[in-house]
């Protein structure tokens, strides 16, 4: 009985319920659009799991959003709201692209250099908003949204400069030098059948563990959380709250920037001009929420989202709109947000049963 109550208290259960409800609502929309939900969902499922090749594609799709998810989750845990992961992701990918194209050094130096540049870019991008918040009291949500657009146009501007633009290839930069790519060796690519399988997923998982350690095990995490939960008590306890807020935003920004690096150095290989915001940062918010702001949870929710994105792109094959994925994910987030309603409900039912 205690075990049963443990399950009813666990957030994982409600996350799964929210996901199921998301799919049910998605099914209703599909049915309304005269598409068989059974057919669409089985297509979705088979496009993700039926072949090892698909698994690798799923992980490839998942890596950057795990990183933006970590970025947002870290900010949630430390009491700030990084809605600017989108912009940090963009400046991160831009930095990685610039170093990846213009610097010609062996891979052992080139890869770390690109990654570092991306992290630094994301970190600085976030810190600018952080400093405005700390010094002038400008709310970070506002400045972050503005900075998302600034990053967007900055990137589009950079893509079209002579140094980066590839002549005659449409609206994108030159390709990153092979020494700056995270792709697995050729043999692995042929073996898996996934032409973009790359080390991004390893970076993402390692960083998830690192973030978990920072939050749960270190004095830094203690400090950041204390300020996030109660700035006054933290200050009273001798913690410099402004410094903590900046540290939290800096780390969060660096993680989003790394997401950008993994995307361009992994799957992308070059930076294209955006027609609209790519959405990796906003997907990060969804991933963080589904993962319960827990870094380890974010790995799983990121892979889930990656699978949905990859599988969703195959839906057009059966004439189902891939936008259905967005509807499902949106519903999942709504139902996670109101998870406590279900929790109360189930706990009450279980209590009543016990009473009888």
């Amino acid at each position: 009985m205690n075990k049963k109550r443990g399950i009813l208290h666990s957030n994982v259960l409600y996350t799964i319920i929210a996901i199921l409800i998301g799919f049910i609502i998605g099914a209703i929309f599909l049915a309304v659009a005269n598409i068989s939900p059974v057919e669409a969902y089985s297509k979705l499922l088979s496009s993700v799991v039926s072949k090892p090749k698909y698994w690798f594609w799923t992980l490839t799709y998942a890596s950057p959003i795990i990183l933006t998810g970590l970025s947002v989750a870290f900010s949630f845990r430390t009491g700030v709201f990084n809605i600017g992961a989108e912009g940090q992701f963009v400046v991160g990918s831009l930095a990685a692209t610039i170093i990846g194209i213009l610097v010609d050094v062996p891979a052992v130096i080139h890869i770390p250099l690109c990654i570092l540049a991306a992290a630094l870019a994301g970190c600085c991008w976030s810190l600018i908003c952080g400093i405005m918040k700390v010094k002038k009291g400008i709310h970070e949500v506002l400045s972050f949204i503005m900075f998302n657009w600034i990053a967007y146009y900055l990137s589009n501007f950079a893509v079209n400069t002579q140094t980066l633009h590839k002549v005659g290839s449409g609206e994108a930069t030159k390709d990153l030098l092979p020494s700056a790519r995270l792709l697995f060796p050729k043999s692995v690519l042929t073996l898996t059948g996934c032409s973009a399988a790359n080390a991004g997923i390893i970076i993402a998982i390692v960083l998830a563990v690192v973030v978990w350690v920072i939050i749960e095990k270190t004095t830094l995490g203690y400090k950041l959380k204390a300020v996030g939960f109660n700035k006054h008590a933290a200050q009273y306890g001798g913690i410099d709250s402004n410094k903590s807020i900046l540290t939290a935003l800096g780390i969060s920004g660096a993680l989003a920037g790394l997401g950008g690096a993994v995307q361009t150095m992994g799957m992308g290989g070059r930076l294209a001009q955006f027609a609209s915001q790519e959405g990796y940062g906003f997907e990060g918010i969804t991933v963080a929420l589904i993962g319960g702001s827990n870094p380890i949870g974010v790995i799983f929710s990121g892979i889930f989202y990656g699978a949905m994105k990859y599988g969703g792109s195959k839906l057009t094959l059966i004439n189902a709109p891939s936008e259905i994925i967005n509807i499902i994910m949106g519903c999942v987030v709504i139902f996670i947000a109101i998870a406590h309603v279900f929790k109360e409900l189930f706990l009450n039912i279980s209590k009543k049963k016990e009473a009888k």
């Binding site: 203690y222 204390a226 939960f229 933290a234 001798g238």
Partner: protein
């Protein structure tokens, strides 16, 4: 004022029978009985966490009882929601006021039950009704004042009016005097009298024995969730009540050995500071505290005490003046610097400054020390050491429930939250301890305990600055009492020669005549 009972012993308005309320495996209320008559003031007495609030939340429809029955005016009723409770004539005034700050008194009172004229609120009628009720019960309020501009005492009257406006016949007052000044408490007692004279019943949740003696007919005692007894207040002494509440004899007298104070620890000279509005609030305050001495700072709230403490603890900067701690300059330093200099404090607002409520108890206990051994090593927290530290303090300072080291501090009762802070600060064992309203909202047992630790620190040669709105507390603990009025020290009295009347006179701005 002599109290007149208005109780009608033949009319029972509320009866709760064998109420049991369980939260998981924890039994908050274990077969509790309560009978309230018309015109009666019925006190419910119990320690922090004894289950008083749970019982009242059951009556107010916030919790459903696990078993037991409730009778309202003789009819068995299942109270489903606060809305339902209000319809049954039961109203509750919570300890923490639930008022909308930028709204006026009238707007707050009529919220949700606005009288209407067509589709607009009939403000005139509302104001009239508010004035009418307030005059009937002798409650002075300004119906057009905004909540943010009025005193705590008046805010409470607004809460009571809110309940009366909704037609309550039984009023539940949860710790109504916790944040009131002595004068405001007297006024409240009078209001309670007027209410019962009009046939209303009042359930008073409190742990202040003096008030129970002063204004109630009967008293039901709850201890650790269990029903102990219901007694006629006239038949028992304060000591009897206290003993029933904590289950042992309670010592009201603070034992304090004679002791000569040592060297000056804290020295403040000519301190000037402005409050958050930029108005000068400290106007050349000078004060010192010596080792092995408890200095009580007496004064009515709002005379600069809060700002003084904030400046001393590094949370606020002063305009000018001098502060030295053990000879070292402590003027306008950061919280970390003053702490390292030897100033620790029990803050006035335990939920704002004292604790990170979302943090576990064990994490709260290392708030100033998380970066030091044994709690961390090279930036990595040592969970085992943190846990062991918490277990030890919980045992030593009797923090309940035991085994809640990893539970968030917000889940503890107010008294136990305060004990977490006391445990932390007393263990810090700094040269100076600033205690601000250290027993606010605590029960007799816990007060005795807190006082014991404060005196113990003094006996060890620590300097103590006690800031309290409870004159009784200041008088029983202090070696020296300094009176603060309008940002200055206006009088100094030796603790053992202190006289309540004289202090009251000084606190109101009177000058001392030698």
């Amino acid at each position: 004022m002599e109290r007149v009972s208005h109780m009608d012993p033949n009319t029972v308005v509320i009866e709760m029978k064998e109420i049991v309320k369980k939260f998981g495996d924890f039994t908050a209320n274990d077969h509790i009985n309560l009978k309230v008559h018309k015109g009666e003031v019925h006190a419910i007495l119990g320690e922090n966490g004894a289950g008083k609030s749970t019982l009242m939340n059951v009556l107010y429809g916030l919790y459903k009882p696990t078993s037991g029955s409730i009778f309202v005016n003789g009819k068995e009723t299942e109270i489903a929601s606060p809305r339902h409770a209000i319809d049954l004539g039961i109203g509750m005034v919570h300890q923490h006021f639930m008022l909308i700050q930028p709204f006026t008194v009238t707007e707050n009172i009529i919220l949700g039950v606005e009288p209407q004229k067509g589709i607009v609120v009939d403000k005139k009628l509302a104001t009239q009704k508010v004035i009418e009720i307030s005059e009937r019960y002798g409650m002075k309020v300004d119906p057009n004042a905004k909540i943010e501009d009025i005193s705590v005492g008046m805010q409470q009257r607004v809460e009571i009016l809110k309940v009366l406006y909704r037609g309550a016949d039984t009023l539940i007052l949860d710790e109504p005097t916790a944040s009131l000044t002595p004068q405001e408490i007297d006024e409240l007692m009078e209001i309670i009298q007027n209410l019962t004279a009009d046939g209303k019943s009042v359930i008073l949740i409190t742990h202040k024995l003096k008030e129970i003696k002063a204004c109630s007919d009967n008293c039901t005692i709850i201890r650790q969730g269990k029903y102990i007894n219901t007694v006629k207040v006239g038949d028992v002494s304060e000591n009897d009540l206290a003993a029933m509440m904590v289950g042992r004899e309670v010592n009201f007298h603070v034992e304090k050995k004679e002791q000569e104070p040592g060297a000056v620890a804290l020295d403040i000279k000519d301190l000037h500071a402005k409050d958050y509005r930029g108005v000068e609030i400290l106007k050349g305050l000078s004060l010192n505290v010596r080792e092995g001495e408890i200095v009580g700072l007496a004064g009515v709230d709002g005379n600069g005490q809060t700002e003084l403490v904030e400046i001393l603890t590094g949370l606020k900067t002063a305009e000018s003046g001098q502060i030295t701690m053990a000879g070292k300059d402590a003027f306008n330093k950061t919280p970390k610097e003053v702490f390292d200099m030897g100033i620790s404090s029990i803050p006035a607002d335990r939920q704002k400054h004292g604790l990170v409520l979302e943090f576990s108890n064990e994490d709260n206990m290392i708030l100033q020390h998380f970066e030091e051994a044994p709690f961390s090593n090279k930036g990595i927290l040592d969970r085992k050491a943190i846990h062991a530290h918490a277990t030890e303090l919980m045992e030593k300072f009797d923090i309940r429930p035991r085994g809640s080291e990893v539970k968030p501090a917000g889940t503890l009762s107010g008294g136990n939250q305060q004990k977490v802070i006391i445990a932390r600060e007393v263990t810090n064992d700094k040269e100076l301890l600033i205690a601000v309203n250290p027993t606010r909202g605590l029960d007799v047992g816990a007060i005795e305990f807190v006082h014991k630790y404060i005196v113990e620190q003094r006996n060890k040669g620590r300097a103590i600055l006690l800031v309290s709105f409870e004159l009784d507390e200041i008088m029983s603990l202090s070696d020296r009492i300094e009176v603060i009025f309008d940002g200055q020290i206006t009088g100094s009295v030796e603790g053992k020669n202190a006289d309540e009347k004289e202090l009251g006179f000084l606190m109101a701005g009177g000058k001392k005549h030698e």
